[in-house]
């Protein structure tokens, strides 16, 4: 699914943020990307959502060497990736509905289907009442749910989220994690950047990709059996 070999990244002439990143993520897995603030989590995600090219090294995604893809192929690959940005990056001139519908419109889906899909998802994330609202008039938590809904509306093969629980109260946060979990069970590979150790402990069944001093280290998950028990504990 995703394979990094000796990947390095620097911004301009600055120091290398990532020096030698090596890891392989199997399809359909769920990972926390952790590390202290400034470790390069957001930067690594930007490589994963193809927003930046690595300064050096080999990046393979969906079985393809990224360096070998043409513009059209990169575009198709981006359509298979859903991203929840840390600052959401919602478009404030259009309604919550249109924000969530945007990826579907880009992919050229029929307007009728778009309406059904978006309405259903908005109900699900608790935004059914706010379809016509402009994002910047909603609360931080609501904006984040729009951002998450926009990222998952296309049922992406790879879901990336940057600190997605920062603005959420517990119940909604749990609900989103469950949404990610559900997508993961349907085959989506999930990578969530977070330095929230509490969250990672709650969902300790997932493996961790730990960034440290420009390098990455994969920490395997605990056995899956403890999952139900842990979620049960929370209610």
């Amino acid at each position: 699914m995703i394979k990094f070999e000796h990947v390095g990244l620097r911004y301009g002439v600055g120091p290398e943020i990532l020096t030698d990143v090596n890891f392989t993520l199997e399809p359909g897995t769920f990972h926390f990307l952790s590390g202290p603030s400034g470790a390069g989590k957001t930067s690594l995600l930007s490589l994963l959502y193809l927003g930046r090219k690595p300064t050096r090294g080999l990046m393979k995604m969906f079985g393809e060497d990224i360096g070998q893809l043409n513009r059209h192929e990169l575009k198709l690959m981006r359509q298979r990736i859903g991203v929840v940005f840390q600052d959401f990056r919602l478009l404030n001139h259009m309604s919550a509905f249109d924000n969530i519908a945007l990826p579907l419109r880009i992919m050229g889906q029929e307007e009728k289907e778009i309406r059904e899909n978006v309405e259903e998802l908005m109900e699900w994330v608790g935004l059914g009442e706010h379809q016509h609202m402009l994002p910047n008039t909603l609360s931080g938590g609501q904006q984040q749910r729009i951002a998450v809904a926009r990222a998952v509306i296309t049922r992406p093969k790879l879901l990336l989220a940057d600190e997605p629980t920062g603005n959420l109260d517990d119940e909604i946060g749990l609900r989103l994690m469950n949404l990610f979990d559900q997508l993961n069970r349907m085959g989506t590979t999930v990578v969530i950047a977070s330095h929230n150790t509490m969250l990672m402990e709650k969902f300790g069944q997932h493996s961790k990709l730990i960034l440290d001093k420009g390098q990455a280290r994969l920490e395997k998950s605990e056995p899956k059996s403890t999952l139900k028990q842990r979620i049960g504990d929370m209610f």
């Binding site: 690959m77 404030n92 001139h93 259009m94 309604s95 880009i106 609202m133 402009l134």
Partner: protein, 313 residues
């Protein structure tokens, strides 16, 4: 009901349906483009109208003179001796008969003394006493249309009636006029070309400033996997509509200005453009200007957007 919708808006409800993924309709960069396009249109209209008028003028002159020639019998003979009016009249009469026998000649008339007087009076003054001054004889000849006339040969034969007799086909004069008007026409075309260039630069500048204003939104669409064409289509449409609106307003204003100008010209009897009436085709060309300018703007927008997007990984 109105009150409610206003209240809703204040509460943050999106108004209307989404037209563009980029917030193109915010800010007033659009009105700058519209005003610019309006001005360009007015200038282009004037350049076109000038060019139309020149063409009409040239055409009238060449049509009027194409099959025409003048036979001139100078009042002096080859030796510099003044001829009497009777002698001149007699030669004119002989030439008239000679030309009437020529199969290429359609009409030939001797210009009357009054006509010749009225021709020369602007130079000599109304009060000039012509009686004792012999006037040259002038015959006006109209050739049959489509018949090639060997004017050199004809002039040679006319000189049998008297050495200084000349056949003036107006060719040289007409050639000079045509050279002049075609130079003017070239200038009008050049101005039109410059206006087109300015339109392109303005549209490109407007789109570029939009693109840098909305860089984040643009990048977001790009990251979602939007094709370059998906993004450029929206800016193309926006630019086309903006340019068209501005240009159409400019065209309306331009027509009003042209109308007023023509009224003033009529009022003051300035025969600058004698009987110049726009043909339907010419009018339609002017009406098509906004579409042309909008198309030009749209193509420019497309190129600009695609170039900017090509820089994204």
């Amino acid at each position: 009901m109105k009150i409610f919708s206003k209240k809703d808006r204040r509460l943050g409800v999106a108004h209307g349906t989404r037209k563009y993924d980029l917030p193109l309709e915010k800010g007033n960069g659009g009105s700058f483009l519209k005003i610019l396009m309006g001005l360009m249109t007015i200038l282009a209209m004037f350049a076109f109208v000038a060019s139309f008028a020149l063409s009409a003028m040239t055409e009238r002159w060449s049509a009027g003179l194409a099959n025409q020639a003048t036979v001139e019998i100078p009042a002096e003979n080859a030796a510099g001796v003044l001829l009497s009016q009777e002698e001149i009249n007699k030669t004119a009469q002989d030439i008239l008969v000679f030309l009437q026998q020529n199969s290429a000649v359609e009409t030939v008339t001797i210009m009357s003394e009054e006509e010749i007087q009225s021709l020369v009076s602007p130079w000599l003054g109304e009060d000039m006493e012509f009686n004792d001054l012999p006037l040259p004889g002038i015959l006006s000849v109209g050739f049959k249309e489509g018949v090639a006339v060997d004017t050199k040969n004809l002039e040679k034969r006319l000189k049998n009636f008297g050495e200084p007799i000349r056949l003036d086909t107006h060719a040289t004069w007409l050639a000079n006029v045509l050279k002049f008007t075609s130079a003017l026409n070239m200038a009008a075309m050049l101005i039109t070309g410059l206006i087109g260039l300015a339109t392109v630069i303005a549209a490109a500048g407007a789109v570029q400033s939009r693109m840098s204003m909305y860089r984040d939104e643009l990048e977001l669409l790009h990251l979602m996997g939007a094709a370059d064409r998906y993004i450029s289509r929206q800016l193309q449409r926006y630019t086309f509509i903006s340019c068209f609106q501005g240009s159409a307003m400019g065209a309306c204003l331009g027509f009003i200005i042209l109308f007023i100008t023509s009224l003033i010209f009529k009022e003051k009897e300035i025969a600058l453009l004698p009987n110049f009436n726009m043909s339907l085709t010419e009018f339609l060309i002017l009406c098509a200007l906004p579409v042309l300018i909008a198309l030009l703007g749209m193509i420019t927008a497309r190129q600009t957007v695609l170039r900017t997007l090509a820089k994204m990984p």
